[in-house]
Amino acid sequence: MLYDAIIIGAGHNGLVTACYLAKAGLKSVVLERREIVGGGAVTEAFHPGFSCSTLEHAAGPLSPQIISDLNLRQQGLEFITPEVRVLSLGEDGKSLCIYNDTAKTVAEIEKFSSKDAKNYPEFLTSFSRIGSVLAPILSMTPPSIDHPTASDAWQFGKIGLAFRGLGKKDEYRLLRWGPMAVADLVAEWFETELLRATVAARGITGSLAGPWSAGTSLGLLMQAALDSTPIPPALFVKGGMGGLTKALAKAAESLGVEIKTNAEVTHIDNSGHNAKVQLNDKQEFEARAVVSNADPRTTFLKLVDPVDLEPNFLLKMRNYRAKGTVAKINLALDGLPVFAGVEQSKLSGRIQVGPEIDYLERAFDAAKYGEFSREPYLDIAIPTLTDSSLAPAGKHVMSIHCQFAPYKLREGDWQSRGQEFADTVINQLAKFAPGLKDLIVAGQVITPLDLEQTYGLSNGHIHHGEQALDQFFTFRPLIGFAQYRTPLQRLYLCGAGTHPGGGVTGIPGANAAREIIKDLKSRKA
């Protein structure tokens, strides 16, 4: 049969796109390579009785607009928001706890520096002011600066006006912070090293960058636009992140979307009147549009026949920066690890190992030379503290996001060095939680190579491509192709490789749907 749209990949963005298309009365089918839906937002059992969010462990957060548009709560989506945002472990056994509640956080910071405690609220408010101006930009289709149309000009105008609304001081802050190294930004606000590092971490998460790299403040601005706070929340989902994508899938199916798993697309054929895709079992699907939730490199360098694309475009795609730096380690634990000098109540949010700016920078240095960090930066969650469904009673799972683990190792390869890396991470973590090793029942190591082979992330990049000044907004993935359309008339992108990029927000998917609906409605069948 002829579908209106075929969606390649049942990641959260693909599912969001499918839902919005269906709401607009367009019939679509979602084709997922793996046996489960969810892409990077999945819950999987990695040891009998133990399961967790195998990749991403916290939501971006998912856009509230999408949650209500798709009634995801009725589909069983349930968020868990511990009052602790992040507990940051210091090397001297001192730790810093950032709560959702500002007053509590200020009291915590007071222990380190009253100057910082005084600055913290203003730091939050100025970011939320700027964030509120950037927020609408996230859900807008980036205007084309290549061939601006009247509506593009109008979009620019809107951005301009919002910018004006900030007032001179914040206008200049925004202009300065955009290209700034996050290490400089936090140094302007705070004197406590641990606090600096805790805030700066967002700027380098998932990137091939250290806190001293220019443009890393962008991450904080993006986070503020999403969440009005530059420090990411510990926003977990009941049943793990898979709970979120399951709810999306249910919503999609209730709207009449077909979802096929174990359906790996191997080729996109754009030659005929309608677009066709072919699966590895030679099965074919035909539709008026093909929407790829896969990353840009996979889409254009693997699925599309090179002869269908201009050499020039292909060259630019090959130069699209996407060098993965993240590995994931999931542990099944016999009991709750004890962190030196930390009461249990503070472990329910994210836990950060990355006590100093220099620590984070050194972790990055290794990646520059194709080595993994000897002392990696870790972002940890123990979801079982707030969600008993993931492990047997009394047992726990620990989900560890590890940086830096460069996709290309200079010596050896990930098949042979995965375990060595895992040991490095666990030894480092054991410095803060001495009893950890004795508690480990089983472990799962997901190297950048696994991210590519199992999860289909080209070069193992969790954000579908570096999120930096040269690859964001109207430059994502490429200047001139930031409007979810591609050089191929019937092919669209809806994944993290498009504005506003990675993180479980669903916004790229929603934005893409808006453009696709425009085109399909205006185009006769």
Binding site: L175, R176, M180, A214, K368, G480
Partner: protein, 525 residues
């Protein structure tokens, strides 16, 4: 002579002198006050050792604006630029890369390393020249205020927008990348030869506290293609008689236009009467009155030392403190009994007449930066060396030579010890590094002058030893230089202007800040 002037210019550096010359040519009565016994600021020639004349700090001409050379008729005032042909990069394996101004030769030389790169080099050159043409007029324009509400301000912003809009797609793409990427990421897209990328990317880090992999370093690659002598793109040169000869020719032009110049006239304070500057007091107590003061020294000296922050708006002071200097380079000047003998190309030859670059690989450059990030000078630094005495015998005794070595990284703030303690150790590191490529260097050294960042601050009044009067990083460029809202050469103090490298378009022997400032001042006085 009366003690009342139209304008007093603080600092007899090249920008101060250019500024004075333009004001005098417009009929103003101008006095230039220089703290040292010689004119030129960082563009000086000094006979440090008997018979050896060093261009102590800045050592090559490239960006001196052609309009200034023309308008001030500098050749008639003794400016003579001698060509500096090519860049010779020796490698540890005794191979080398030698780029010359002769495109054909360079192409053949690169082909020796990689045929692909040789072909790419043509394309690259063309693209960069297009970019340079785009950027050129921006250097001689007063930065618009992006927060302005005035129609004229809008006009200037629109001018930039339209200019960009008019670019062909490829140029837009390149321009965006140049402004946002790291030099290495940018060059990776064009070339595969490591040493080629390393030696080209070096221009991106000079005078900044950034590495070749830090975003924001790519755009400086343009400067190489903007270097203009007699309007011809991308040629570099020496001034006969050393860099000081440039300052002297400008001073000569200024005097002819009626400018009065005093050396050894250090300034104590800028005189204020209810928020307006009306003159200066010298260290010796002399008071000099003027309608307008124009300061070519950096903001820290101008505002914190000569004005006093108590007289300035607190927000302006906060921004002043945020303005980053953190010098990262030093200089070693050698008096040589003969010529260094490089293992890569033994004997004397044309390769010694150009720039000699110690930048054998991207990792080498990056490791040099890593040392600096953690507060040490590079154990194996990047160096840009020239032997001007080969082209201009007047700077050394017959048969003898001077060798000027620009050295990065030498961070102003050392983790351990002071620069006075480390001076010789630093000098030895530099000589040892050269010796790895030219072993005979140690036997040739008659005398050596080591200029540390601390010396640059004490001797030449460059705060924290930054050769550009403040880092040329993205957040300190154009309308953000030196301080947001004060990028138009004016200051919060009435009748006080800035005309030094701390203003747009920044450092290097360009003279553009001095000229731009003069044109702004003449609108108002």
């Amino acid at each position: 002579m009366s003690n009342k002037y139209d304008v007093v210019v603080i600092g007899g550096g090249h920008n101060g002198l250019v500024n004075a010359a333009y004001l005098a040519r417009a009929g103003k009565k101008v006095l230039v006050l220089e703290r040292r016994h010689v004119l030129g600021g960082a563009a000086v020639t000094e006979e440090v050792f008997k018979g050896f004349k060093f261009s102590v700090c800045s050592y090559v001409v490239s960006l001196l604006r052609p309009e200034i050379i023309r308008e001030l008729d500098l050749p008639r005032h003794g400016l003579e630029i001698l060509p500096l042909d090519g860049t010779f990069t020796p490698m540890p394996n005794d191979d080398y890369l030698w780029r010359l101004n002769d495109h054909g030769k360079t192409r053949r030389e690169i082909a020796r390393h990689s045929r692909l790169d040789a072909e790419a080099y043509d394309e690259y050159g063309k693209a960069m020249i297009e970019m340079a043409h785009f950027v050129k007029p921006i250097m001689s324009m007063t930065p618009p205020d992006p927060t302005t509400l005035s129609p004229k301000g809008w006009k200037n912003l629109a001018f930039l927008g339209r200019r960009f809009q008019k670019l062909p797609y490829e140029d837009k793409y390149n321009q965006v990348q140049l402004m946002t990427m790291s030099a290495v990421d940018f060059l990776d897209q064009w070339f595969e030869t490591d040493v080629l990328k390393a030696t080209m990317s070096a221009s991106g880090i000079i005078g900044t506290f950034l590495g070749v992999r830090s975003p924001g370093t790519a755009y400086v690659l343009l400067h190489h293609y903007m270097g203009e002598i007699d309007g011809a793109f991308r040629s570099w040169g020496f001034a006969r008689g050393g860099t000081g000869a440039i300052s002297n020719s400008i001073a000569d032009a200024a005097r002819e236009a009626g400018v009065e110049i005093r050396t050894e006239a250090p300034i104590e304070k800028i005189l204020l009467k209810n928020g307006r500057a009306y003159g200066v007091v010298l260290k010796n107590g002399d008071e000099i009155q003027a309608d307008v003061i124009s300061s070519s020294v950096d903001p820290r000296l101008t505002f914190s030392k000569m004005i006093g922050e108590e007289h300035l708006p607190s927000e302006f002071c906060e921004d002043l403190h945020r303005y980053k200097y953190r010098g990262s380079s030093g200089k070693v000047n050698l008096a040589l009994a003969g010529l260094p003998n490089f293992k890569a190309i033994p004997g004397e030859g044309a390769h010694l007449r150009g720039a000699i670059s110690i930048s054998p690989g991207v990792d080498y450059m990056e490791r040099a930066y890593d040392d600096a990030k953690y507060g040490n000078f590079s154990r194996r630094p990047y160096m840009d060396m020239v032997i001007p005495s080969l082209t201009d015998p007047s700077v050394a005794p017959p048969g003898k030579h001077v060798m000027s070595c620009f050295v990065q990284y030498a961070p102003y703030k050392l983790k351990e010890g002071t620069w006075d303690e480390k001076r010789e150790e630093f000098g030895d590191t530099v000589v040892d590094t050269i010796a790895e490529y030219a072993p005979n260097i140690k036997d040739l050294i008659i005398d050596r002058q080591v200029v540390t960042p601390l010396d640059l601050e004490r001797e030449f009044g460059l705060s924290e030893g930054n050769i550009f009067q403040g880092e040329l990083s993205l957040e300190q460029l154009f309308f953000l230089r030196p301080v947001p809202g004060w990028a138009q050469y004016r200051t919060p103090i009435k009748n006080l202007y800035m005309c030094g490298s701390a203003t747009h378009p920044g450092g290097g022997i360009m003279g553009a800040p001095g000229r731009n400032a003069a044109l702004e001042m003449l609108k108002e006085i």
